[in-house]
């Protein structure tokens, strides 16, 4: 386990520790509420509550933090300053059953509720107990015990040099007893590669935002679950800490009267809005009442062709609905019928949507989506309706584009088309990490682990100028020749033929205020007038005093 092979970068032990470390680092970002523990077996020393020999709990089942990462980091140090030997040591005389027992007791002693329990067993020994039938049987029984308690055991096997891990020797009996067929272990290297990949992304548990009734009219009320499939992932919110002890503090907001400093309780206050200098007041309950129109739910208003949904009708990210058989039986059938017909006829449903209690209604478009699977039969797109929020008339801004009448000629458009074609790619959001977020995670990690430099983060949203130039450089030049006049520099406005104004004369005539700020500034520069401010009045004052007026 500890011997390093020449061609390999790490010893198997280092590989395991690395895996654990990366996993903890990933977990901290993806789901920091998950608990994690590390147990060594086959150690010389023993450290566990069950007083089993040769089993050491390195990290109890707990929420991992910086210290957990640093502890593992220490085990990866060079031999000289690595105290693993002193602290734990090595011994072949262990029982796998004891190790598993320790793991199981970690789970059972945990006071928190655990949704999912898993033990990852790292080993490069495919026959740990050799011919010791008793130890073998004990391990098998214990493994079965864990299974009964809903603890999954995943074998992370490492091949020994020049030899593949033979699962049939022992682990097949221990872990795959239920399976009759030959057990084929997945490729070890691939598995480890996956574990060693740094992924900094928040994990989201699939959970309905709400389960609401969907009324099609009359008594046709089915139930749907509302989900969020696309939502901007933001930086986690910070905490406030007490400087002296570094403990988290709770914050609360108080209202008080400005003059007397009297603390106000909620019942002492009203809500007010000011219009045309009049303060209009409501009781807090009235403010809630104004917002309440109906109970939460979706209500069908009618159907329209899909093309009626304009792409720019966008005010907030879409949601997704899927039938909820748990509240109303038969929802799936009704929902499916509607989905099927909408897909067939290329139509969308318009609904009134009240997402929560005391929330005003909005109109939404239900955009049907059929299920889509990839070549491995893995779902790419789930079946259901996307809920697209419609704007109201109030939300459209009046814009006047009447000054932009110029249109490109066919020749210019054709050149643009060539560029478009040359620089075309198949876009997918999957290929773009959020550089701001990744950078943030890397920074926090560096601060927590006290490393000098945060891990480098690649910004995939930076266009590859060189490559684009190479592909379309010539076309771009041709396009510019077709469109831009000689000597055009974008963004630099060609100076309007400035009529030379005699500022002095204007000043004497007291007409400085009629001139533009740039003209005045220009003059100040030329005539070396020192000016205290940039406002027009400042400029005029400065010029006047300069000329002694």
């Amino acid at each position: 386990m500890f011997t390093q092979q020449e061609e390999e970068e790490f010893s198997p032990f280092e590989l395991c520790i690395k895996c654990a470390k990366v996993m903890i680092q990933n977990k901290i970002i993806s789901s920091d509420k998950d608990l994690l523990g590390i147990v060594f077996y086959g150690t010389k020393k023993s450290e566990n509550p069950g007083e089993f020999k040769h089993v050491s709990i390195f990290h109890g089942l707990d929420q991992p933090g910086a210290q957990s990462v640093l502890d593992l980091q220490a085990l990866l140090q060079e031999q000289d300053n690595n105290d693993f030997k002193d602290k734990f040591g090595h011994c072949d005389n262990y029982s796998l059953s004891d190790a598993l027992w320790t793991c199981a007791s970690l789970f059972s002693n945990c006071t928190q509720k655990l949704g999912f329990k898993r033990v990852m067993l790292f080993t490069n020994n495919d026959n740990p107990h050799g011919n010791n039938e008793q130890l073998k049987r004990q391990a098998i029984v214990k493994s079965d015990d864990l299974h009964q308690n809903g603890i999954e055991i995943e074998l992370m096997h490492i091949n020994k040099p020049g030899r593949t891990f033979d699962v049939d020797l022992f682990f097949k009996d221990m872990l795959f007893a239920d399976e009759d067929d030959d057990v084929v272990l997945p490729d070890a290297a691939e598995k480890f590669d996956e574990l060693l990949t740094r992924v900094r992304a928040k994990d989201h548990k699939k959970r309905a935002i709400s389960k609401i009734p969907f009324s099609l009219g009359g008594a046709l009320d089915m139930s749907v679950g509302v989900y969020s499939l696309v939502r901007t992932c933001t930086k986690p919110t910070g905490v406030k800490l007490y400087k002296k002890t570094n403990e988290e503090v709770k914050s609360s907001t108080r209202h008080f009267l400005q003059e007397t400093g009297e603390i106000l309780m909620p019942q002492d206050m009203k809500k007010s809005i000011t219009y045309a200098n009049k303060q209009i007041c409501f009781e807090p309950e009235e403010v809630v009442e104004i917002k309440k129109f109906d109970d939460p739910g979706l209500k069908l208003m009618g159907f329209k062709p899909t093309c009626s949904l304009k792409r720019y009708y966008h005010i907030r990210p879409a949601q997704f609905i899927y039938p909820d058989e748990g509240s109303v039986k038969g929802s799936t059938t009704l929902f499916t019928a509607m989905l099927k017909k909408c897909l067939e006829k290329d139509k969308v449903a318009i609904c009134r949507y009240i997402p929560r209690k005391n929330t005003p209604p909005r109109f939404v478009v239900l955009l049907p989506q059929a299920e889509e699977l990839d070549e491995h039969n893995v779902q790419v797109l789930p079946p259901g309706f996307h809920v697209i929020f419609l704007p109201f008339a109030d939300d459209f801004r009046k814009l006047d584009f009447s000054e932009i009448k110029t249109r490109a000629s066919t020749e210019q458009v054709d050149k643009a088309k060539e560029i478009v074609k040359k620089l075309q790619f198949v876009f997918s959001s999957e290929n773009f990490e959020n550089p701001t977020l990744q950078r943030y995670y890397a920074n926090v990690e560096a601060m927590a682990l006290d490393t000098d430099q945060p891990e480098e983060v690649e910004d995939y949203t930076m266009p590859n100028d060189e490559k684009m130039q190479k592909r379309a450089g010539r076309l771009l030049e041709e396009f510019k020749d077709l469109v831009f006049p000689e000597g055009y520099t974008p963004g630099v406005k060609r100076k309007a033929e400035t009529v030379d104004v005699d500022v002095q004369q204007e000043a004497r005539a007291g007409k400085l205020s009629k001139l533009t700020v740039p003209t005045l500034k220009d003059y100040c520069k030329k005539a070396n007038v020192r000016c205290g401010g940039t406002k027009k009045a400042d400029l005029i004052n400065a010029i006047n005093s300069h000329l002694g007026l």
Partner: protein
């Protein structure tokens, strides 16, 4: 003006309503427009032009030019009295024009001048000054709008022939085709009215003004206008490689209009200043307050709390320069509609002052449009703000062309949830809850019946529920309440205005058309409400069917001995808290009889353990009988409590446990005793909830 047929409103009242609405719109949109009110036909005379015998009598300048405030609204609502005298319409126009022109003397920044004349045209007038008035109106660039009985109608009796309003632009109004209100207040037009009508019609056409009937104007005005936001451009070059840069301006095109926010005020003295302060407390028993200066910002790294200073914050910031850079082009379909993020759509046009930029952008807009392609861009709003990924989609109209910008997700923003398949296809695997042909046909009828498009020509923006014509009901409601409260501070909130209420329902004709289909659908699809409470209990043991996400925590199980307030009976009797191995059946029964808490699941769980223990420890088949009895009792109890799921689950687990322990013979006994899992399923089905 003040007379009306029974059952209808007088023209005066209708006019006042209209004025009220115009003023409301100005007030709530916080418009800087100034408004004056001139009444004619009043008993008094009060205007600048009426000097001695020069005419202009019975005309009052009720309110000089100024921004709309509450007093003018109150005046219009409560203080205008109907009079009996008549005044010359043209005199009134002259007075108003005079006041308007004089009133804005010396004031700057007015975009236009407008006279809105509300009249039933019943009064006498002297038409020899008509030409003068038209000439000066044109000279002063005053716009004239007339609201009165329908000027286009041939006969006042018939109000049903719809005449489109003159303006070509989409005009906000109720979408559901609400009946147009009365046009001439139930009376046929008099000869005088017809004469007046002819005159005004001519004047309106001479000055290029617009006229509306009361019927047209009222519903349109009944919706308060939201605040108009001045468009501010976001300027930045659009960069297609550093070689090609096109100066552009971005303007918000669609963005949610929000109401002003409510502020907290002191109930006893609303004028007193209320301030907020944040205090920080330690998490100890006393909740010790700590000083602001002792509090630092921190970050969470797993269980570790990392303090960091302002300098750290600065150093951590990602340096990014303001930009709009094209990453490449892609087919429109690669950016799905439901992926759009952010809270708005931005319209991108070329810089107005740059002719070359206009040509360049136009070329790309058309090229994208013709090839069904979009631009993928990196956008940074300002230096050092966060990087966004965006899409630019071409939009071409007869009057303008532009690109629409929307934010699109990064990989972190996508949540890849898996959902079970729905029986959309005829695949026999998904037959279970697939809709039948009959059901599908009815659904087809519903789609047809509830079609909202109007099939006459311009399909683009027509049809009910066009977002451009629907006003936010919350804002309407809020403004209604605000006005009511402002003018009647002691009244309760008014009820929801019927026009707003009607907007929240499907159009009446659609509902009528579909009543039958809906009835048939109700019969064809049997929907059944699931009783929530029972469901919750039963679900504790029934594993989520994978559908609901298996990571969900199981509802809290009642724990033994946790209840602090136990009944007297418990104190007296020796309370059973465990299903022991000696008398498991008796213990179990005692447990489930306990009233203080629901111990059923707990009891079952312990019974399960006991059964497993009995079987595993059994020498040969010795204890099998006892275990079997235990199972029977548990099963009976489950049937009685209508919770078959619990026992089914025990059976399921038992099967695997027994197989693993090599006690399959006991399983055979269960099957023989017809207690088997599958049989049980069938037996149990009828009383399943």
């Amino acid at each position: 003006m003040s007379q009306a047929a029974p059952g209808t409103c007088s023209a005066l009242q209708t006019s006042l309503d209209a004025i009220n609405m115009i003023l409301q719109r100005k007030l709530f949109s916080e418009s800087k427009d100034e408004v004056a009110l001139v009444l004619f036909g009043t008993a008094d005379t009060a205007n600048d032009l009426a000097t001695g015998d020069s005419g202009y009598e019975n005309i009052c300048l009720a309110r000089p030019l100024g921004p709309v405030d509450w007093s003018v609204l109150k005046y219009v609502q409560n203080e205008v009295q109907p009079g009996t005298v008549s005044a010359d319409v043209l005199d009134a126009l002259v007075v108003a024009m005079d006041h308007l022109v004089n009133g804005i003397q010396g004031k700057k920044g007015f975009g236009g001048k407008r006279l809105i004349l509300l009249t039933d045209m019943g009064g006498e007038f002297d038409d020899d000054r008509q030409d003068d008035i038209v000439t000066s109106m044109k000279a002063q660039q005053i716009e004239l709008n007339v609201i009165g009985p329908d000027l286009d109608e041939n006969d006042g009796n018939d109000s049903d022939n719809d005449s489109e309003d003159g303006g070509g632009d989409a005009r906000p109004g109720p979408s559901n085709g609400h009946a147009r209100s009365q046009t001439n207040h139930g009376k046929p037009k008099s000869a005088q009215q017809k004469r007046g009508e002819a005159l005004l019609k001519e004047m309106v056409s001479q000055v290029d003004g617009e006229s509306y009937s009361f019927g047209q104007a009222l519903p349109m005005l009944s919706f308060f206008q939201s605040r108009q936001v001045k468009a501010v451009a976001w300027k930045c070059p659009l960069q297609i490689t550093p070689v090609l840069q096109i100066p552009i301006c971005g303007y918000a095109k669609v963005k949610e209009a929000k109401a002003k926010t409510f502020k907290n005020v002191y109930a006893k003295n609303v004028a007193a200043g209320v301030q907020r302060s944040r205090t920080h407390h330690l998490n100890d028993d006393a909740e010790t307050e700590v000083d602001q200066s002792d509090v630092v910002d921190g970050l969470r790294y797993g269980s570790t709390l990392v303090p960091f200073s302002a300098e750290d914050k600065e150093a951590m910031k990602m340096a990014s320069a303001k930009c709009l850079k094209v990453l490449g082009f892609t087919k429109t379909q690669n950016v799905p509609r439901h992926h759009l993020l952010g809270d708005s759509t931005m319209a991108v046009v070329a810089d107005k002052t740059d002719e070359s930029a206009k040509v360049a952008l136009s070329a790309f807009i058309q090229a994208l449009y013709e090839t069904d392609t979009v631009m993928i861009v990196r956008r940074v709003y300002s230096n050092n703000s966060s990087v966004k990924l965006g899409v630019l989609v071409p939009h071409i109209k007869a009057s303008y062309e532009c690109l629409f910008y929307n934010e699109i997700p990064f990989t972190e923003d996508l949540r890849r949830f898996c959902f079970g398949p729905l029986p959309l296809t005829d695949d026999p695997a998904s037959k279970k809850s697939a809709p039948s042909d009959e059901q599908l046909e009815l659904m087809d009828d519903l789609l047809e019946g509830m079609d909202l498009t109007v099939r006459d020509g311009d399909e683009d923006e027509s049809g009910a529920l066009n977002p451009k014509l629907m006003f936010n009901p919350y804002l309407q409601r809020l403004y209604q309440c605000l006005q009511h409260r402002a003018l009647n501070p002691d009244d309760p909130l008014p009820s929801l205005c019927p026009q707003v209420e009607a907007c929240l329902k499907p159009p009446q004709e659609v509902v009528t058309r579909c009543t039958q289909t809906v009835c048939k659908l109700e019969a064809a699809f049997r929907l059944e409400q699931v009783n929530k409470d029972k469901d919750k209990v039963a679900n504790v043991f029934v594993k989520d069917d994978g559908e609901q996400g298996s990571g969900e925590p199981v509802s809290k199980r009642p724990r033994m001995g946790h209840s602090l307030v136990t009944g007297l009976a418990d104190l007296v009797s020796d309370t059973v808290t465990q299903v022991g191995s000696a008398r498991p059946i008796e213990d179990f029964k005692a447990l489930i009889k306990r009233q203080d808490e629901d111990h059923f699941e707990e009891a079952c769980r312990m019974m399960h353990e006991r059964i497993v223990q009995l079987v595993t420890d059994s020498f040969g088949r010795q204890s099998y009988g006892k275990a079997l009895d235990c199972l029977k009792v548990a099963r009976e109890a489950a049937v009685k409590n209508s919770e078959p799921g619990v026992v089914n689950d025990i059976l399921r687990q038992l099967k695997t446990q027994l197989q693993a322990k090599g006690r399959t013979d006991f399983w055979e006994d269960i099957v023989e005793g017809r207690l088997c899992h599958t049989t049980c399923h069938r037996n149990v089905e009828p009383f399943r909830t």
